[in-house]
């Protein structure tokens, strides 16, 4: 079995090359240039390549040196990261459901869904590092860590939606997280916390790349519409949109699940988990282009192009 996998993966230079997010997933699977085992092998290589030790990184932080701003940031990050497990659980379930739905009528798409569902195990495990690291610090320093009922509340599994919308929303969420961690990593003076934040931020960028890759594969299959990508991008970047999360005048109240960006404390001393809006906007524009090929350059541009796609559908 091991030998077969190695043989199948020879074309990917598994032992010598840097692991990466599989490029052009739809073409690879549809044209039978790769099997699911090839894709899964590459996912596993990347996961192993990026593994790190929470206890080692947390142990390197001088907790007594953390400033009030550092403490504020860590406490909010710990609470926000609680919602990634239900997010990943949802992707696992939805991807398998979609895989069974397409199997027999569009097998390439069924394979993409299976590749996505399989990868969700790595995503879930990697996010566990983030949650436990920040919440360990929050508990150790008595920074009002989430109590048991809060943990249970934040674990509510997200409701199902269209798969392309779901993947795009997760890419947007990872953009927000990655930029925020990176921004604060460059503000904190404590070297251990800086190293932890840079590590977590790099993980989030990798997750974003995976979500973009799966979303692009769905668009490439022509069975999912690019308008879904623009709709979610619009949801995030419009004035008062999700990118502004807790700073909005009025927040959405849901009884189905918790969006982490709706439940952050008010910014303290210029620190919040909503830093780097300009960078987040730029990365969202790039994401839209990578998934759909459509070039966008502003929130208004996204709205216009999304509405044009809808108008074409209305007049068809």
């Amino acid at each position: 079995m091991m030998q077969q996998t190695q043989i199948a993966a020879v074309g990917r230079k598994t032992t010598n090359s840097e692991p990466t997010v599989w490029p052009n997933l739809y073409a690879s699977l549809a044209q039978e240039q790769a099997t699911l085992l090839d894709v899964i092998w590459e996912q596993h290589r990347y996961h192993e390549h990026r593994r790190w030790d929470v206890q080692a990184l947390v142990g390197a932080i001088d907790l007594s040196a953390l400033t009030p701003a550092d403490r504020f940031f860590v406490a909010n990050a710990g609470r926000a990261e609680l919602t990634t497990k239900p997010g990943a659980d949802r992707v696992t379930r939805l991807a398998d459901k979609e895989c069974r739905r397409w199997l027999g009528t569009h097998d390439s798409l069924a394979k993409i869904m299976q590749a996505c569902g399989t990868w969700s195990r790595y995503w879930n495990e990697e996010e566990a590092h983030h949650e436990t690291a920040f919440n360990f610090i929050a508990a150790a320093l008595a920074l009002n860590p989430p109590d048991d009922l809060t943990v249970i509340e934040y674990r509510k599994i997200f409701p199902d939606d269209d798969m392309l919308r779901t993947l795009t929303l997760l890419a947007c969420s990872e953009i927000n997280a990655a930029v925020t961690y990176n921004e604060y990593a460059h503000r904190t003076a404590e070297p251990g916390l800086k190293a932890l934040l840079l590590q977590v931020g790099a993980d989030e960028v990798q997750h974003m790349r995976y979500f973009i890759s799966f979303a692009k594969a769905l668009v490439d299959s022509q069975m999912y519409e690019p308008k879904s990508v623009l709709a979610i991008a619009h949801l995030f970047v419009r004035p008062g949109g999700e990118i502004y999360g807790a700073t909005r005048d009025t927040k959405a109240s849901r009884d189905t699940h918790v969006n982490w960006w709706d439940h952050l404390d008010e910014a303290q001393g210029g620190v919040s988990l909503l830093m780097g809006v300009k960078k987040k906007l730029a990365m969202t524009y790039k994401m839209v282009q990578q998934i759909t090929g459509i070039v966008v350059s502003s929130p208004e541009d996204i709205e216009d192009k999304w509405m044009d796609l809808i108008a074409q559908e209305q007049s068809a």
Partner: protein
């Protein structure tokens, strides 16, 4: 375009939005909220679907009145009336602007 009244625009927006969400206009009385619409609609299940209904209504307004209504960002406890008012306000402002050119 100069002759269109507030009530005409309101009726158009109301009717078109009702059609998009699959409800009767009578089910969209002024006190009804966007959350009620998502709950009661046979066609939509979440706020992204709802946003798409705003977009389709805006496209219909553009086709009918020749003006582009920007989509409002409202929380789900907003009333339908507030949404319709936002559309009317934008249509009137743009028509007035066009007339003064």
């Amino acid at each position: 375009m100069q002759n269109c009244s507030v009530s005409e625009i309101a009726t158009f927006v109301h009717e078109h939005f009702a059609q998009e969400v699959g409800l009767d206009r009578s089910e969209l009385a002024s006190g009804v909220t966007l959350a009620d619409v998502v709950r009661n609609s046979p066609r939509i299940t979440n706020s992204v679907d709802l946003m798409e209904c705003f977009a389709k209504t805006s496209n219909a307004v553009r086709k009918r009145y020749g003006v582009r209504v920007r989509l409002p960002t409202y929380p789900v406890n907003t009333t339908i009336q507030k949404l319709v008012d936002s559309f009317i306000e934008q249509v009137q402002a743009q028509i007035t602007q066009q007339d003064s050119v």
